[in-house]
Every structure is written in structure tokens, then in C-alpha cells.
Symmetry: C2
Subunit: 529 residues, 2 copies
């Protein structure tokens, strides 16, 4: 295959290209198994040193750019991504096996995130401006003039995710929120979509240049093994980490970050089975509709979402039998989609096999058999509550279109199972108005277990919004106090600084009287819009 126009196989370090000298990687078309040109040589210590050095050098300048300048930069990145045109979509299709409409939608989402953060930066709440004016006459001691603003934490290492080659990758939510906060970014491109990464990386590199920002604001490195990621997280100039991927990968990064002389926060979005609780009245009145909607959510995008519904809970009885029957009837029609990589497809098959072979787990239905080399055949299992509680392996995420129905002896067991679950990104209730009283009893558990609680929907499809939480207690994420989707994500990369008795000439502009440009200020604790 010819090398697609514009792809060089090089890394981007500040304003420069760099040829990797370590083991090279290539994209691979999961639908055919064919390798995709060009090869991307891996970064060595020299490349890492340059990228981190440039990021550190850019930090003090970049973080003091005006909100308007930073917003324009984010918007320019969005425009530049669109300007790549169909080349981006075609390459992303080849590298990910994802269909065109999904990737066109994902491109829109990626641009939307950048533009949302542009708005957020302009609005200014993220600075958390606070002023407690001096009280020179206060007895017994005068009070100093105290002013506070958030500043960015420093250069951030971001790991591209496999399952969203655009929206959670080089210019994805982590990058958008870190750049919005004022942090330079060093991306480790995901090895499964190196060409897509190069195209998007160049869009950011061009925006850095045209916006007149210091080149170290953005670099992107490639690496085939584990060395680069570990070295990046260990680098003393890196002050935070953004990651979306496996639990194993996230936990490894947490360990490295905690072992540094200066530990740093890792925001890893890792593992969730997203329980769906079908409450009795809803099950009785519309079990069939729920079954069909569930199949839609389960098989969407070959189930390759962090929010895929991997666990269903219902009270055993004829309504649940009917529900199970309806899934069994409809799932076999669900087509097998190509999965993102041979590794993911193989891990999916392994996970499904483990469930299928489990003595106390029944295979209720499978989707259409897999066609291509890396296609995933949907799978739906059922088991009883006792088995589920006793065997922790049944709680493990199987990334792909696999889900387990747990037949609970009664509704209270649903609550007991929830209490025993690890942290989740989402928990969903399917309920009718008659289920309200029981739902109220469940709610405290749902809140403790998840970052997002849904009613009568399905967890796939994460809206990029101000009120979104794509987070949750460990191991859903490494840090349940935050989100990786939505405008709240900017706070991951900020820390407060207090300025005591500063002369006006030394104060940051936003903290001078009249300098906040419309951003909300808290004065003596009272918020002024």
C-alpha cells in the first residue's frame, strides 16, 4: 500500500519533526489484518528529554496567555482538524475498523469538546478568583489582603486511547482540558492509530504556530513497548497524567507516579461493567422494549465503550424469564463488528470463553458469528446471585459486546449485589413510576458506587456537557473526585495559589481590581457574577 499523502512516520517535538530510532510500529487494518504504511520509529530518551524540556520551558509563558488567546487556540485546533478533511476519516477507518458515520460523529464530538473548553476558558469560573480584602483595623490582629486564583499544575502527559481514535486521543478530552487549564501537553500516541495521530498532531502543531504560542505547548511521541509511557510519567517535569485504557495499564501508571520523588496525580479511566437494574414494574410492563434497547446499547460500536452495559440485575420470575427470552430471540440477529485491534479482539474472545465455560453461567445467546479476522460476536450470559457474589471474576470487565444477567431471588438482593460491587462509571435504573419507592432506597448505594446514575436510558453515549461526570470510584477511575468528559474536567489540572498583601503591580491581572474580565469573583466568601 502506498503511504497516504501527508504521513511522514515522524514524531512531533515542539515545532520540529523527529525520526524515532527505537522499535517502529505500524498501523494495522483490523478488518483485513493488513499493515498500514508508514512505519513510526519509537522515541528514545533524547526525544523524551526534548519534549519534556520544551514543555517545561513553555509553561510559564503559556499559562499566562489571556483566556481569549487560549480559547482561540482551542478553536483553531478544532478548525484545523476539520480542515484535514476526508483524509482523516479514511485513515481512522483503516486504523480502527470503525465505520464512517461513527468517525464523522466522533470528529464532531472532538471539535465540540475543544469549543466547549474555549467557552469555559472565556467564562473564567475555572480560575476560582477569590478576594478577602485587608482589614487593617481588625482586633486583636489586622487581616492581610488575600487573593486566590487557580493556576495550572504544569506539563501533562496524555495517553491516547484505543477506542476513540479522535475524541479520547491526541486532541481528545484530556488534551483539550489540559490545554484549556494552561498546561503544555506531551502525548504518547496510541500504537493502534499512528497515522490518525500524526494527522491530528499536526493540526495541533500548526495551531501552536499560527497562534504564536511557544512550541513546547504540544509534542507527540510514539513508542511500541512500555518504556516510553513509564519514562514519560517518571519525568520530573511532568506534573499530571491523563489516561483512558485498561485497569492493568492505569494501575501500572499509578504505581510509577506514586514512586516518583515527587508523586503526581494520575487521572486514569479504567474499568467498569456499568450495572443496569431492571426494577420489577418496568420489567413487567415493558420488558420487551427494554430487552431490545439493551441489545442496541450492548452491541453499539462492537461494545467497545467504557460505558458498555456488562451487567444486568433483575428479580427472578416469569417477567425476567420473558426478558431473557426476548434477548435470546433478538441477539442472534446482531451483526459482528470488526474490533479495534487484534489484541482487543483476542482479549474479548478470551473473556467470553471464560464466561461460556463457567459451570454456573449459562450462555443465553450469541450474536452473528464473527466474519473478519478481528470481528467480535456478541454474547449474553445469565447466572444466579449466589454465583455472581461468590466469584469475583464475574465482575471483571469483558471489553466488547458481552453482558451477564444476574437473576436475583428478590429486589433486596439487587441492592446487596450493588453494595458488593467495585466502583463504576455508571449505574442505570430501568423503572416505572410504581418502582419509585424502591428506587429511592437504592439511590444512596447508586451514588456511592458510580459517577453517573441514569434512569430509563442506557449508559453508552456520554454527552459532552457541563453536568456530565465520566468518572467514579476506583477502579472505574484512579480518582473519583473528577471527570474526564465535560467541562468539569479542567479542574483536574489546576491548583490554587494565594497572594498575600501583593502590590497591585505584582498581582496577576485577573486578581487586580477590575482585571477579571467578567469572570466570577468570590469576595469575602460571597460570589459576584
Amino acid at each position: 500500500m502506498d503511504t497516504p499523502t501527508g504521513l511522514t512516520g515522524r514524531m512531533l517535538i515542539g515545532a520540529q519533526d523527529a525520526e524515532g530510532r527505537e522499535a517502529a510500529l505500524k498501523g494495522l487494518d483490523p478488518a483485513t489484518g493488513a499493515e498500514l504504511e508508514p512505519a513510526y520509529g519509537g522515541a528514545d530518551a533524547t526525544h523524551l528529554e526534548r519534549a519534556c524540556g520544551l514543555a517545561a520551558a513553555a509553561f510559564d509563558t503559556y499559562r499566562e496567555t489571556s483566556p481569549e488567546a487560549r480559547a482561540k487556540f482551542l478553536e483553531t485546533i478544532a478548525d484545523n482538524i476539520l480542515a484535514i478533511g476526508d483524509t482523516l476519516i479514511v485513515r481512522a477507518m483503516q486504523e480502527s475498523g470503525l465505520p464512517r458515520p461513527r468517525l464523522e460523529g466522533e470528529r464532531g464530538r472532538t471539535m465540540g469538546q475543544l469549543k466547549l473548553f474555549a467557552e469555559v476558558v472565556r467564562e473564567g469560573s475555572w480560575m476560582d478568583l477569590r478576594v478577602d480584602p485587608a482589614m487593617p483595623e481588625r482586633k486583636p490582629m489586622p487581616r492581610s489582603d488575600l487573593r486566590l486564583r487557580n493556576i495550572p499544575v504544569g506539563p501533562v502527559a496524555i495517553f491516547g486511547a484505543s477506542n476513540f481514535p479522535l475524541a479520547f486521543s491526541v486532541a481528545g478530552g484530556d488534551t483539550a482540558s489540559a490545554l484549556a487549564a494552561g498546561c503544555p501537553v506531551v502525548v504518547k500516541a496510541h500504537p493502534a492509530h499512528p497515522g490518525t495521530s500524526e494527522l491530528v498532531g499536526r493540526a495541533i502543531q500548526a495551531a501552536v504556530k499560527s497562534c504564536g504560542l511557544p512550541e513546547g505547548v504540544f509534542s507527540m511521541l510514539y513508542g511500541a513497548g512500555n518504556w516510553l509511557g513509564g519514562a514519560l510519567v517518571s519525568d520530573p517535569r511532568i506534573k499530571a497524567v491523563g489516561f483512558t485504557g485498561s485497569r492493568q495499564g492505569g494501575v501500572a501508571l499509578m504505581k510509577i507516579a506514586n514512586a516518583r520523588p515527587e508523586p503526581i496525580p494520575v487521572y486514569a479511566e479504567m474499568s467498569s461493567i456499568n450495572p443496569v437494574l431492571v426494577l420489577p414494574h418496568a420489567l413487567a410492563s415493558r420488558g420487551e422494549a427494554i430487552a431490545k434497547a439493551f441489545i442496541g446499547s450492548l452491541t453499539l460500536g462492537a461494545g467497545q465503550f467504557c460505558t458498555n452495559p456488562g451487567l444486568l440485575l433483575g428479580a427472578a420470575g416469569k417477567d425476567l424469564d420473558a426478558f431473557e427470552g426476548k434477548v435470546a430471540e433478538n441477539l442472534p440477529a446482531a451483526g459482528a463488528s470488526t474490533m479495534l485491534t487484534p489484541g482487543i479482539a483476542s482479549a474479548y474472545r478470551g473473556g467470553v470463553d471464560r464466561l461460556a465455560k463457567h459451570a454456573q453461567v449459562k450462555t443465553v445467546a450469541r450474536g452473528q458469528p464473527a466474519g473478519g479476522p478481528n470481528a467480535g460476536q456478541a454474547a449474553f450470559f445469565s447466572t444466579d446471585a449466589k454465583t455472581f457474589i461468590a466469584d469475583h471474576v464475574l465482575q471483571d470487565e469483558v471489553f466488547g459486546s458481552s453482558s451477564v444477567l444476574v437473576r436475583c431471588p428478590d429486589v433486596n438482593t439487587m441492592r446487596d449485589i450493588l453494595e458488593k460491587l467495585e466502583g463504576q462509571l455508571t449505574v442505570t435504573l430501568q423503572m416505572d413510576p410504581e418502582d419509585l419507592e424502591y428506587a429511592k432506597k437504592l439511590l444512596p448505594v447508586l451514588e456511592r458506587k458510580a459517577g453517573r446514575v441514569l434512569v430509563n436510558g442506557f449508559p453508552t453515549g456520554v454527552e459532552v456537557a457541563h453536568a456530565m461526570v465520566h468518572g467514579g470510584p476506583y477502579p472505574a477511575t484512579s480518582d473519583g473526585r473528577t471527570t474526564s468528559v465535560g467541562s468539569l474536567a479542567i479542574y483536574r489540572f489546576l491548583r490554587p495559589v494565594c497572594y498575600q498583601d501583593f502590590p497591585a503591580g505584582l498581582l496577576p491581572e485577573s486578581l487586580r481590581e477590575g482585571g477579571a474580565a467578567g469572570a466570577p469573583i468570590r469576595r469575602n466568601g460571597k460570589l459576584e457574577g
Copy 2:
């Protein structure tokens, strides 16, 4: 000595007293070395189990109390502390060696913190209410109704600090902010002031009862060794940790927290030498006044503050000679104060000896010789920049009235030294208007290194306010994204939850239309006061 009225030597577990069966501890009057009755038996696994079990059981009820109810609870604790009367002050004086005016002031500060958090809870910003209403007509996909609020993380383990037996201890800032957030608290009382802890603990216990709250909202355990602290942080029901103390202690807790099956955040305020930079014009124009004010800050409270100025930086020359001479002239008059514990006094002497014996460090002056068994004699040293940079030991905190002046060859070396320093709670500039241009060059480094930057003051004396940051990059704290003093501290114990498409009857009250009781709401990203 007779057992003071009201002290039982027992732990408080929920509404009950409990007799500790493990190794007992007693308070000790550091001024005389005399042991203080009664003995406090240490907690065992049964006590820990009960305290954590009650805390977990109380959580869902306590966290849904109204802001008004929670504010009243905090105010009741403050009132109850005052109602203990002079018994509290006398016991705290005995156990800490701190003088009456300081402890009366600290009591006021403790009550002030509780009342500040009562205000904060009522005001409601801490909930971070957000509403992104449904857009059923949106193309290509409708938007769900999304609502967000912060909920508390769960039961919190809090370690009393040695150096503030009231304000950073049983009912100190960590407890006040955790209770304000809606978290039950399990306190490990500091072994140096068990009687003070019992008195304050009973004030909280009584407030829990009179406010009709579940008893598990507060428990307090004693333990002489390291077992209790480690077991408390390891308990799966504990979801966050507050600690003020040594770097060694804080790092140990971080390791335990990170090794849990579910890692949890540790907010440890640990170690800082609080550099003071005396800029050239200020040094020339008012070196003498700065020297005297510096001595006041250095020796305040026997130097037993996290914010004690342990490092001075100035450009070598006749002005710095004169400054050093002025400290040498005045420090010998500074009285030796009793330190908090024999351990702290001994560690202080060890740290001072290490500096005094250092071949490249000059002992400039000492305060008055120590009188009592645990008094600390102030110490002031000087060295050159090369020595300071070369020997990392000189950066170590010596807890007490000890400080090192580093004679820099020029002003740029001051900046170089700052860049090489670890994270700090504070950095201070002594500057005249003519120093402004150089101060501007320094500011980015100051912000990166510290949580609070002061001009023409001294870092001791941390105002409890909305714009205060008592935090800073590691190792000043374990988590530089937060503060342990001031209203911002409440955010340490909160996490966001998103409610998607909830029927009104299931929504938390604060997220129902009109249910926010005046708390600010962000609607479609726009803040409504």
C-alpha cells in the same frame, strides 16, 4: 496528680465510651516532665471495627441532612467547646507547654473555623449544582436531562496534630471541613494531648446527640504506637485521610492508602522551610526592621509552625552583612520556650546540632539558653549558595526556631536556588517598590513552588479565610491541588455525581427545580447566583 474533673481516659465510639485494652498513653507536661492522669488505653481491632462500622452506617443519613442542619451542628460544636470553659485551656496548657494567650487565641480560631464552614455549607457553592436541561428536539441525537451535584466521599480518618492541640486537632480544620462536606469522621487523637482531645471529643459527641444525628458521625480512638493509624487508613470504609505532621508520617500514610485494594486520597500537610527572599532595595532601605520582624516570626510559639521561616535568601554584600549582624545582635535576647513534647525538643536539638557541626555552615547567633527540660533555644545560621545547593540536607525542615541564611552571589542565584527547592507551603518576598521588576521575574517560580506567596510579611499566622491556601506542591503537602486551611478545604472531601433523566421524585432536593435554596446553579454552563 488528681485526675482532672471530667476526664475518663476512655475513647469515644459513637455515643458510647470505650475502655482501650492496648498499651496505654498519658499526657506529659513538657515544662516539668511530669506525667498527667488519666491513662488512655489504646484501641484494638474491635474498637476500630465499631468506629468504622458506625461511621459507614451513619454516612447515608448524615450526608443527606439539610445544609441548615449541618451548619447548626458545626455551630453547636463551637458553642460546646467554649462551654468547656477554662478546664480546656488549663489542660491544653499542661499537655502542650503552650501559653494561655496562645491557647485562648487558638480556641477562638477553632470556633471560627467551625462557624466559617457553617456559613460555607449554608451558601451552597460547595455542591457545584449544575443543570443541562434535556433537548429532546436536538439533531442528530436528543440530549438527556443532566444534573450534577457534589456528594461527600464517605467516612474520613483524621489525625490530630501535635502543634495545634485545638485548631488542627480533634475539632480542627480537617474535622470541620469533613463534617461540613457531609463525611462522618473517625479521629485518631494525638498522643501528646489525650486529655485535651477527650474534652473536645466530648463536645462533638454531645453536639451529635443534641442535633439528633446518627451516632457514627463522630468517633475518637487512642493508640500509642503505629498500628492504629495504619489500620484506620487501611479500613475499607474509610474514603479519605486528613493529616498534619511530619514528612515521614505523611509519606507512611500515603503508602498505606495507595496499597489498599481501593486507593484513597491522603491530604497530608507535611514539610516546608518557607523561604523568605529579601530583595536588594528592601535589604538596603530597611534591613534592620526586616531582621527584627524576622526574629519575631522565627521565635513565635517556639517556632513550632509549619510556616516557620526556615530559609532566608539575600544577595551577599554590605547590606546583607548588616542584616546578618542585626539578627546576631537581637536574637540572643529571644527567650527559650518549652516545646510541645520531649520528642519534638530532641529532634529540634538534633537538627540544630547537625547545622552547627556542618563545616560550611556558620552559627550566626543563638537565642537564650534553654531552661526547662524541653525548651528550644533559637538558632540562626548562614552559608553560601554553593554549599546550600550541594547539600540537600540543608533543605530539610528543622521543626522549631531554626533558620538558615543563604548568602547568594547575586540576585539571579536566588532564583536558581528557588528552582531547585522542593514544594513549599509559602514563599515570601521582602521588597521595596524599586524591587518590582525583579519580583516580576521571580513570581512564576514562586507560584510553581508554593501554595501561598507573601509580600512584606512573614509566613507564620495563617488566616482562616476564603482566599487562603495552606497547601503547596509535594512535599509541603501530599496533594498540592488543595488547602487544609480556609473554606476551599471542603472540596477535599467531595466528588461529583451526575443524574441523567431522573424523574423529579427521585432527584435529590437540591437538584429539583426550585430546590436549591439559594445555592448557585450552573445552567447550561452559565452561573446563576
